[in-house]
Symmetry: C2
Subunit: 209 residues, 2 copies
DNA sequence: GTATTTACGCTACGACAGTTGCGTAAATAC
DNA sequence: GTATTTACGCAACTGTCGTAGCGTAAATAC
């Protein structure tokens, strides 16, 4: 992994790290719309132009920050689908509730989707940011998707079940509440959601002749 | 509904309409981040300050626009749940795909969530905008929720089913794909989604002793 | 050594959101 | 009529994102 000895002046050692660190501090303190790029640059001890050479817009910087913050969510595959799903989705929901409070006084505790909404908008504004965000989520979702695959293989889900669609249902419900309805997504809701999906999947009833 | 004869100079007749019309035209032409408030005011023939007296931020104006654009989605309750859901969600998905293209050259056709993403961000930035958006969706969702209630009552869904949670699953899947994964939400996907939810709900299988 | 390449810091600038202050217009209250 | 209240238009201003130009610093190529 040695650098192949580029041509001109090398990039300032550690500037990236100092910028991200300063940006992270300001983001968590004030939120996305109330911190200025100029201030990030000043705190990091670099010129604003240097920052822009690395991240061409504030939106790009945001993705880099979120990708950094986002801690990996553990995925246990114990064979108890209900339990595994509840644990996993509970962790996701908890993480999202945390994102909600980034840059707000805890007292606020309103129903805003916070920084996740900004991330979504950033992805919509710039194609390359969108690509990066989608890659982030694709990577994050591989393990839970595999969890559903295994469940289907061992007969815990109907054989015709599509893991992708089922995952859309589960994750979608959480993001829908976070971003659209603003409804809370606590542990109790996650349990109800998983319960309903799996109970549905196990209870026969009329219709569908 | 006669005006109670207010005190001072009345608001300029029709200014609201002209502003909204001008803003709508610019929004559909260029998209949210590439049209300027100054330009809207100029086209509407009012001073910028007059516009700001009505909508305190660009985000507020956006909600007013979307609320205006959003056509009511028909909800048929024929007794055939699968069909009714497919039709309803198909219309919603079609509307969302339309929102995706607002302000973009048709050629682009990328995976951006477009104006919906901006709406979500606007809701996250201002508490009152969030309130308005949530009211918009609550109103929009009453009929489909009733549809699910009826289905449960006549035994087409398990009696323990929560309409709210089920609706989160369905609508959530669509918005999740629109806003997060960028995956298409065409008629084929809607059919697969409804099919899977209802097939799950009708097919017994092991697990859940 | 000199030439070249790439990054840096700095200053100035353009575009746009949103604000402020002020003079004026259009209504009601008396 | 005059006083009061509310809206309007206009112009100037601030804050912030992002860009452009330029001189300089630190590396490699020869």
């Amino acid at each position: 992994m040695t650098t192949p000895a580029r041509r001109g002046r090398p990039r300032s050692e550690g500037a990236d790290g100092r910028i991200l660190q300063a940006a992270h501090a300001l983001l968590t303190q004030r939120g996305y719309d109330r911190f200025a790029i100029d201030e990030v640059a000043a705190r990091a001890g670099v010129a604003k132009t240097t920052l822009y050479r690395r991240w061409p817009t504030k939106d790009h910087l945001l993705v880099a920050l979120v990708a950094r913050i986002q801690d990996e969510v553990e995925v246990a595959d114990t064979g108890d689908l209900r339990r595994d799903l509840t644990v996993y989705l509970g962790a996701v929901a908890h993480g999202l509730e945390g994102m909600r409070r980034v840059g707000r006084e805890a007292a606020a505790a309103d129903r805003s989707a916070g920084v996740v909404a900004e991330l979504v908008a950033a992805a919509a504004r710039h194609p390359d940011v969108g690509e990066a965000v989608r890659a982030l989520f694709a990577r994050r979702n591989t393990l839970p998707l595999r969890l559903l695959d295994h469940a289907r293989e061992r007969g815990a889900l109907p054989p015709a079940t599509s893991s992708e669609v089922l995952f859309d249902q589960l994750a979608g419900a959480l993001y829908y509440r976070l971003l659209i309805t603003g409804a809370p997504i606590g542990a109790d809701y996650v349990e109800e959601l998983v319960d309903q999906v799996l109970t549905q999947a196990a209870t026969p009833h009329p219709e569908r002749a």
